[in-house]
Amino acid sequence: MKVELLYAVLTLSGGLFSLGLLGLLLRRNLLLAFLAIELMLNAANLNFLAFSRYHNEPTGAIFVLFGICLAAVEAVIGLGLVVRLFRAHEDLGFTKLTALRW
């Protein structure tokens, strides 16, 4: 893998990460917030893949498998929380959760 391509991929992943961060800040719905988090995690995964090819070394690629797995588990727990929250508040807007403060 050439350095130019590496830089391109790194830029892409950086963009993905920032997009996820922005999404988290701007969206008020818990489900959409999860999507944003997935975006951020996958930006890191993309980095691993790119570096793995660049170094010609497989651990980075293997890491991605585990990363995807972790993201999936995270999604499962997140969806469980969504259900829990919906039962308690009948709403998925996490920005209204301000009972705990000060």
Binding site: L25, T95, L97, T98, L100, R101, W102
Partner: protein, 632 residues
């Protein structure tokens, strides 16, 4: 060899304490198995004793047992978890586990009717462990741990029947009196560390030289010893400590724990050798205590009180030996005293067990009804009175010879000390003779029909009686042969204050004085109590008048302390409550606290509970961090 034995011997009583303690707490079934509990506890201590015996037989040179890691590892303070076996600590360990094992055995019978004796045996085992830690410790903090550990066990066991207020009070008194002394140990320890930078006893020996430090630390350690070993002015807890079960009084408050102070001073011999002036102060206090204890013992009617004051007096003897620089004589007296005082206490326990009272006026004629207890009690009496060839004679004679010798070096006060000691020896024979004749001879004056105690109680009595007869023979005076314990054993770890040796004539003179004083004391006791059937008390109260009443009221020291220390303390506390607290305590500190609380409330308003805002704070923080790192 010793390195392998020691951890096992230390672990056994600890194992007993934890298993019996936790088992008793959590397994109600176990609590009912009193013989099992007592049996386990005794077996473990016997095991420890035989291990120490093996170590004794194979002893060659001082050795250590250390954990690979440090007890306290906070640089620069590093205190290793290390135990040291030398002749002194091994000898003390033998006394502790040997006498301790016999008393454990005795306790099985004594506590047989007691509910919840698991608590008793757990603490007794824990006591053995703590006491072993005390004597085997190689550094002062570890010694202090053992010192406090025995104090705590003593507290728990004095207050064993804490349902009664008096017992709980006695326990607290012992605890507090001991704490006063402990301040001395702690302060001395820290002072030494500040001067030398080490807590290690062996290394301290190399660092110490005379001067104020040695004197100050020596006095502080002596303060600690007055607390634990019941010397003036802190002795008042010991007579009250008799509130505990009698075997506890025998083990802790007569044979072992109270000798810890003597051990401490023998261990710290180098400090005292450097400053003989300190020893003169020790001597004055020791002699006064011995005299006071002997006088008060004469006027007590409670059998355990008599023995308690006798212990105070005998401890005075030991410190008198220390003051003469004859630490081996002190340890020798610890050894013989452990036998006959444990014997006397256990015998009195057997009498109390049979008659149900501690008042000697309600006893009498018990030798015929309880022959084993009676005869062994007599052996103990003769031994403590200092009649040859029983044990007490040899150790007491060595002490008085040492004090006399110190007098010949030009310290004239030691002649006075010696004379007083002779007087106290006479008193000892007198009050012990009184006790034996009143309690054991004549007609029975109590209720019911007392019976001899079960074998688990009489066997220890027999063993201790043999010890009370023979224990002194390892320390023969130079005139009669060679003192094995001094020349061949303790001299390896204790360095005595060097004094010239006595001529044979003087020595013979001292031996004769000791013997005669003991015999005369017993003879006077026979005249007053044996022949004329307890007429002695009226004789004394007639001739001594108010002084005798004062003696029977234990000199009213408790009331004196109450007036001199406790009441002023209450006044001080009231002052703090009414004046210092409201006027000074609630001024500036309250203002600062208020301001800080306000500040805290304002700061916590940042915590608005709105998640996206938290996120943006975080991102801002991260960007700042990045900016700082990139710009350097």
């Amino acid at each position: 060899m010793v390195e392998q034995i020691l951890p096992l011997a230390l672990a056994l009583p600890l194992l007993g304490a934890t298993t019996i303690g936790l088992g008793g707490l959590w397994l109600p079934i176990l609590r009912k198995q009193k013989y099992l509990i007592g049996g386990i506890a005794s077996m473990l201590v016997f095991g420890a004793f035989f291990l120490f015996l093996a170590a004794f037989l194979s002893y060659k040179e001082p050795s250590y047992f250390a954990f690979a890691w440090d007890w306290i590892a906070l640089d620069p303070l590093r205190i290793p978890l290390r135990y040291q076996v030398d002749t002194l600590s091994l000898w003390m360990s033998l006394i502790i586990t040997g006498i301790g094992a016999l008393i454990h055995l005795y306790s099985i019978g004594y506590m047989a009717e007691e509910e919840g004796s698991w608590r008793y045996f757990a603490f007794l085992n824990l006591f053995i462990f703590a006491m072993l830690t005390l004597v085997l410790a190689d550094s002062l903090p570890l010694l202090f741990l053992g010192w406090e550990g025995v104090g705590a066990c003593s507290y728990f066991l004095i207050g064993y029947w804490f349902g009664e207020e008096a017992n709980a009070r006695a326990a607290q008194k012992a605890f507090i009196m001991n704490r006063i002394g402990d301040v001395g140990l702690l302060a001395g320890m820290i002072w030494l560390y500040a001067e030398t930078g080490t807590f290690d006893i062996e290394r301290l020996k190399d660092y110490m030289y005379g001067g104020e430090v040695a004197m100050g630390v020596g006095l502080l350690f002596f303060l600690a010893a007055t607390g634990k070993s019941a010397q003036l002015p802190l002795y008042t807890w010991l007579p009250d400590a008799m509130a505990g079960p009698t075997p506890v009084s025998a083990l802790i408050h007569a044979a072992t724990m109270v000798t810890a102070g003597v051990y401490l001073m023998a261990r710290m011999d180098f400090l005292y050798n450097l400053t003989p002036e300190t020893l003169s102060i020790v001597g004055a206090i020791a002699i006064t205590t011995a005299l006071l204890g002997g006088l008060v013992a004469l006027a007590q009617q409670d059998i355990k009180k008599v023995l308690a004051y006798s212990t105070v007096s005998q401890l005075g003897f030991m410190f008198a030996a220390v003051s003469a620089g004859a630490y081996t004589a002190a340890i020798f007296h610890v050894f013989t005293h452990a036998f006959f005082k444990a014997l006397l206490f256990l015998g009195s326990g057997s009498l109390i067990h049979a008659t149900g009272t501690q008042d000697i006026r309600k006893m009498g004629g018990l030798r015929k009804k309880m022959p084993i207890t009676g005869w062994t009690f007599w052996i103990g009496t003769v031994a403590i009175a200092g009649i040859p060839p029983l044990a007490g004679f040899f150790s007491k004679d060595e002490i008085s010879a040492a004090v006399y010798t110190r007098g010949t070096t030009g310290e004239a006060t030691f002649y006075v000390y010696w004379l007083t000691l002779v007087g106290v020896a006479f008193l000892t024979a007198l009050y012990m003779g009184r006790l034996a004749w009143v309690a054991l001879e004549g007609e029975y004056r109590g209720e019911g029909t007392p019976h001899e105690s079960p074998p688990e109680m009489t066997i220890p009595l027999g063993v201790l009686a043999v010890g009370s007869i023979a224990a002194g023979w390892i320390g023969l005076p130079p005139l009669l042969g060679e003192s094995w314990i001094r020349e061949h054993w303790l001299s390896q770890s204790i360095k005595e204050l060097s004094v010239p040796s006595l001529s044979h004539g003087t020595e013979l003179f001292l031996l004769c004085i000791s013997t005669i004083v003991g015999l005369v004391g017993l003879g006077v006791a026979w005249l007053l109590y044996g022949r004329k059937k307890a007429a002695g008390d009226t004789f004394f109260s007639k001739h001594l008048g108010r002084f005798y009443t004062l003696l029977s009221q234990q000199l009213q020291v408790d009331m004196l302390y109450e007036r001199a220390f406790v009441q002023p303390y209450y006044i001080l506390a009231d002052l703090a409550k009414d004046v210092i607290g409201p006027w000074i305590g609630r001024g500036i500190p309250a203002l600062v606290a208020q301001m800080l609380s306000r500040l805290g409330e304002i700061l916590s308003r940042l915590q608005v509970g709105y998640t996206p805002l938290y996120l943006s704070y975080m991102i801002a923080g991260g960007l700042l961090l990045l900016l700082w790192v990139l710009t350097g």
